[in-house]
Amino acid sequence: MSSIINFLFNIGLPHFLILSGTLFFIGLFSVLAKRNLIAILMGMEIMLSSVNINLVAFNRYTTAPALHGHVFALFVIALAAAEVSVGLALIISVYRQHKSVEADDIDSMKW
């Protein structure tokens, strides 16, 4: 019992890993269960961002003061910015074609 209380009070690497994992799967839930394409993209953003917590937490607890994890996280942020701009452009283009942003309505290639 005291070891559990001790674990809850001493914040370390496992706490950050559990936080980022939980956030990742909340994003996955949004991707899997939402109907709106923009909501799916927002879930992907949450997933990409939660991965950054992992990188920075490992950097803080295993390799600091070297900052390779921070540089990696910065590249992930740049990739996320590129991804969201192209993704939203695709959604607007799809909206022009189909007059809808529901994932179920975009089935013109379905037999």
Binding site: F9, N10, I11, G12, L13, P14, H15, F16, L17, I18, L19, L23, G27, L28, F29, S30, L32, A33, K34, R35, N36, I38, A39, M42, G43, E45, I46, S49, S50, I53, V56, A57, N59, R60, Y61, T62, A64, P65, A66, L67, H70, V71, L74, F75, I77, A78, L79, A80, A81, A82, V84, S85, V86, L88, A89, I91, I92, S93, V101, A103
Partner: protein
């Protein structure tokens, strides 16, 4: 003690707003709650002594990406916003899968022996990041610059209005 309280407050705000983002039926509320979740992640970075990354998170995610998403919502929604963000028929399988994976992830994190070291966090990170980016990772840095340019051009080309041929 202060660190513990701060961690739990930030974790609850981040996870709560992310969960509300998924549950909310109004997509505009979802976008605003996503911004709160990103600000919470910036707080996590501050707790991990990553000051430069926290500022970048606020600028890029909470600023630029949220504005992008709000623009896209304005372009594609019309009329009543109340039921613009419903669940599809995959609600139960998706929720079950996510719940199982959250538990599996927590169990695996808690049972793994991590190679921890007693490390000291640097006073400020921007200088060291700049050193690494412009020496060891300079090729990746340049490729990222090209990638951002290509993404910008691609976005412009994709949303460009196609002229009717008739």
């Amino acid at each position: 003690m202060g660190f513990t309280v701060m961690f739990y407050v930030i974790a609850i705000v981040t996870l709560g707003s992310a969960l509300m983002m998924v549950i909310s039926k109004n997509i505009f509320h979802s976008a605003l709650l996503m911004m709160v979740a990103f600000l919470g992640i910036a707080g996590v970075f501050v707790l991990l002594h990553a000051d430069f990354l926290a500022v970048t998170q606020v600028l890029v995610y909470a600023g630029a990406i949220t504005i992008f998403v709000v623009f896209a919502i304005m372009f594609t929604m019309r009329g009543d916003m109340k039921t613009t963000n419903l669940f599809s028929r995959n609600l139960i399988p998706g929720a079950l899968l996510s719940l199982i994976m959250i538990v599996v992830n927590a169990v695996m994190v808690l049972t793994t022996k991590w190679p921890l070291k007693a490390t000291t966090a640097p006073e400020s990170t921007a200088k060291e990041i700049a050193n690494l980016m412009l020496t060891k990772y300079v090729v990746a840095f340049e490729v990222t610059a090209v990638l951002l340019l290509v993404a910008m051009l691609g976005a412009i080309v994709i949303v460009k209005e196609v002229k009717k041929s008739s």
